[in-house]
């Protein structure tokens, strides 16, 4: 397959060998599971159970609410201990509403929705409804509800489903192992998704450092003429969907647009596998493969783990810490976020848990910018990190926004490459957060303005109506003096 060059990028030390040759192992159920109602982008789910309820494996325990949301299911059978606030797997460590399940050890399945016998004869609504009902979200890390992305076929003219198996983050090998061990499931899931999207072509993008995965996937896909395997060069951040699309089509996704505007929808390989389970067996998303790695860990490995397993239990399953980790990261080392607490659970978007040593982090003191321009050369989004960061340092966010800080994908390449160790991507994360907060405030102010105006108009109208009623009554008042009925509000505003 013909490939196209992608701008910028870096070549970090990948360190994937710690886990890449270790087969996925299933972790036994822990003493308790913690299912946050919000594990995805969008509105949190609404709890359908309360303390004391008995649930079965795969039973729906959280209902999606709002346009963008996802359902939650019980990963095993057991009793609901409580619905309470538990620290989220989030850098803030803020508490989030969570369903706590005590497994009964029987692991008994609930009655599941019937398998869709021939998904390729089913219409796209049936498949999308099943994907939504199964609580499937993007498993590459962003956790965007997949059914919404599968619905894009009705809004945009699409031609290709791009399955993302690039896995460009160092350390992480969970997608690699899923492709090697469950290639048929991934391919079947991809074909179902392509059918739901109404696209003829499927391309599976795999980075060149996973030759076995590429071989196995190629073999598994050989029966289907419309599936192509694209082995893309090892270049971080190749796994960013916009960059993967550029490598495969040569087209750059315009700022603030979607890859779907180019006719391509990107899904992660693990998401495709989840779709296969949901459609072929009616099984919801209740477990995932997580890479548990890092120098501070005794036994790095890939673990198939129930959603809601506490990270401390997962670490324990991997032999515990050989030394005190300097930082525990949720996700990959480049874009992952530090975890303030090991009490947080594994969620649908957890691709890796890394216990990193001081040597692996290599925090170094920041010195002044020497204006070498390396960050500009390597920025995969064509931005100018040096310029943006200097404005953000002075809190001049308006100029930073004009320079395109909102188009930054936070890949961290600039921070990685900076010889002065300036925390460039931290500045951009801060600026993006501030600009988003400003937009939220503005929206709220507009809403308040409309509310105030609507109220003023209503009160004026009520006052006028009262005046008119009074005027109409005056001539007749002598004949029939009846007190006009006033509402509470009219009284109040009189």
């Amino acid at each position: 397959m013909k490939l196209f060059p992608v701008r910028g990028g870096i070549h970090p030390d990948y360190r994937k060998e710690q886990t890449s040759e270790k087969a996925i192992v299933a972790m036994p159920l822990p003493a308790a599971l913690y299912i946050p109602l919000q594990q995805h982008i969008g509105a949190p789910a609404e709890a359908l159970v309360q303390a004391g309820d008995v649930v079965k494996k795969g039973q729906k325990i959280g209902r999606n609410q709002g346009a963008v949301s996802a359902t939650q299911h019980a990963p095993t059978s057991g009793r609901i201990a409580s619905v309470t606030e538990v620290p989220a797997p989030h850098p803030s460590g803020l508490p989030t509403l969570t369903i706590v399940i005590e497994p009964d050890g029987k692991d008994e399945w609930a009655e599941l929705p019937a398998p869709i016998a021939d998904p390729f004869a089913a219409d796209m609504q049936t498949i999308n409804a099943r994907v939504a009902e199964s609580g499937i979200v993007g498993m590459g890390g962003a956790a965007f509800p997949s059914a919404i992305k599968l619905n894009l076929g009705t809004q945009k003219k699409l031609h290709t489903l791009l399955l993302n198996g690039a896995e460009c983050e160092p350390f992480l090998t969970c997608d690699d192992r899923v492709m090697r061990e469950h290639a048929d499931e991934v391919i079947d899931g991809a074909r179902i998704m392509a059918h739901a999207l109404g696209v003829p072509n499927i391309v599976i993008g795999i980075e060149d450092n996973k030759p076995q995965a590429a071989d196995i996937m190629r073999k598994a896909a050989s029966a289907f003429a419309n599936i192509q395997i694209a082995v893309v060069p090892v270049q971080y951040p190749m796994g960013s969907e916009k960059h993967l699309v550029q490598a495969i089509t040569g087209k750059e996704t315009p700022a603030r647009m979607l890859t779907a505007d180019l006719g391509i929808v990107v899904h992660n390989v693990a998401t495709a596998r989840a779709v296969h389970h949901a459609v072929r067996f009616g099984r919801p998303l209740i477990a995932r493969v997580v890479t548990v790695s890092g120098g501070a860990l005794r036994e790095p490995r890939n673990v198939e783990v129930a959603i809601g397993t506490k990270i401390s239990d997962l670490v324990e399953f991997c032999g515990g810490f050989a030394q005190r980790p300097e930082r525990v990261v949720n996700g990959g080392p480049m874009m992952g976020q530090p975890l303030p607490s090991l009490d947080a659970p594994v969620v649908k978007g957890t691709s890796g848990i890394l216990a990193l040593t001081a040597e692996e982090i290599s925090d170094r003191p920041t010195s002044a910018c020497i204006r070498c321009g390396t960050c500009v050369t390597i920025c995969p989004c064509g931005l100018s990190p040096v310029e943006m960061s200097s404005f953000i340092r002075k809190d001049n966010l308006e100029v930073a926004a004009k320079l395109g800080v909102m188009d930054c994908i936070s890949c961290g390449s600039c921070s990685w490459v900076c010889p002065s160790h300036i925390p460039l991507v931290h500045y951009f994360n801060y600026a993006k957060g501030m600009l988003n907060a400003q937009t939220r405030d503005q929206r709220k102010n507009e809403r308040i303005k409309t509310l105030v105006e609507a109220r003023t108009i209503r009160i004026e109208k009520a006052a006028e109506a009262k005046k008119a009623a009074l005027a109409a009554k005056k001539p007749a008042a002598a004949a029939a003096p009846a007190a006009p009925a006033t509402t509470t509000e009219e009284k109040a505003n009189a």
Binding site: Q38, A88, H90, P91, S92, L94, T96, P365, T366, S367, A368, I392, R393, D395, I422, P423, H426, Y427, N429, Y430, K432, G433, M434, N436, A437, R440, D441, K444, N445, R447, I448, K449, L451, V452, A454, R455, T488, E489, A492, N493
Partner: protein
């Protein structure tokens, strides 16, 4: 040639006269102080001062109808700047630093009198006569007018909490290590 010069001159004189007259008769009284004060306020239009927005608050300040301590989100810095501009001394003894707030009904204390509903400028209070009231937090702009009218002290102001959806990274603290040779 003369015709052209003449007609253009005549047009210029006529239009100039009309414009000059319009400027005089349609003149809008604008207080330059108001603009300056408005620039000092945060501009978030939060309404916590009790005015609809910062523009109206600035107008009230300029007329001397509002105290310089009116802006809670602005904090100490804004109070001092306003006091300096208006040449008044600010009483900071009762001032507390606080962020954006929303009203909250303590349900056990609410007697359903609807007084707060009538006061709310954004229709953010839900309830009816002799029925418990509640605040629609999403549209409450924290003006606190409802707190003042509540006969049972059932309404309190609470800071707007940071959630997983609104949290963002703080500005990185960077101590530049400069080597002096």
């Amino acid at each position: 040639m003369l015709m052209a010069i003449g007609s253009l001159t005549a047009m210029g004189v006529t239009l100039g006269t009309i414009l000059g007259a319009a400027a005089r008769y349609l003149h809008v009284e604008e207080n330059p102080l108001e603009e300056e004060l408005k620039a000092m306020l945060p501009g978030s239009q939060c309404g916590q001062c009790g005015y609809v927005g910062c523009g109206q608050a600035a107008a009230a300040l300029a007329k001397g109808e509002a105290p310089v301590t009116l802006c809670p989100p602005g904090g100490k810095a804004v109070i001092e700047a306003l006091a300096k501009k208006l040449g008044v001394s600010a009483d900071l003894s009762e001032h507390e630093e606080k962020g954006p707030e929303h009203a909250y009904v303590i349900e056990g204390l609410c007697i359903g009198c609807t007084r707060c509903i009538r006061e709310c400028t954004t229709d953010s209070i839900l309830g009816a006569n002799k029925l418990m009231h509640t605040i629609i937090v999403e549209s409450c702009h924290g003006c606190g007018k409802c707190v003042e009218v509540c006969p049972t002290e059932a309404i309190v102001m609470k800071p707007i909490e940071v959630t997983l959806n609104t949290w963002h990274w703080p500005k990185p603290e960077v101590a530049h290590h400069v080597t002096v040779h």
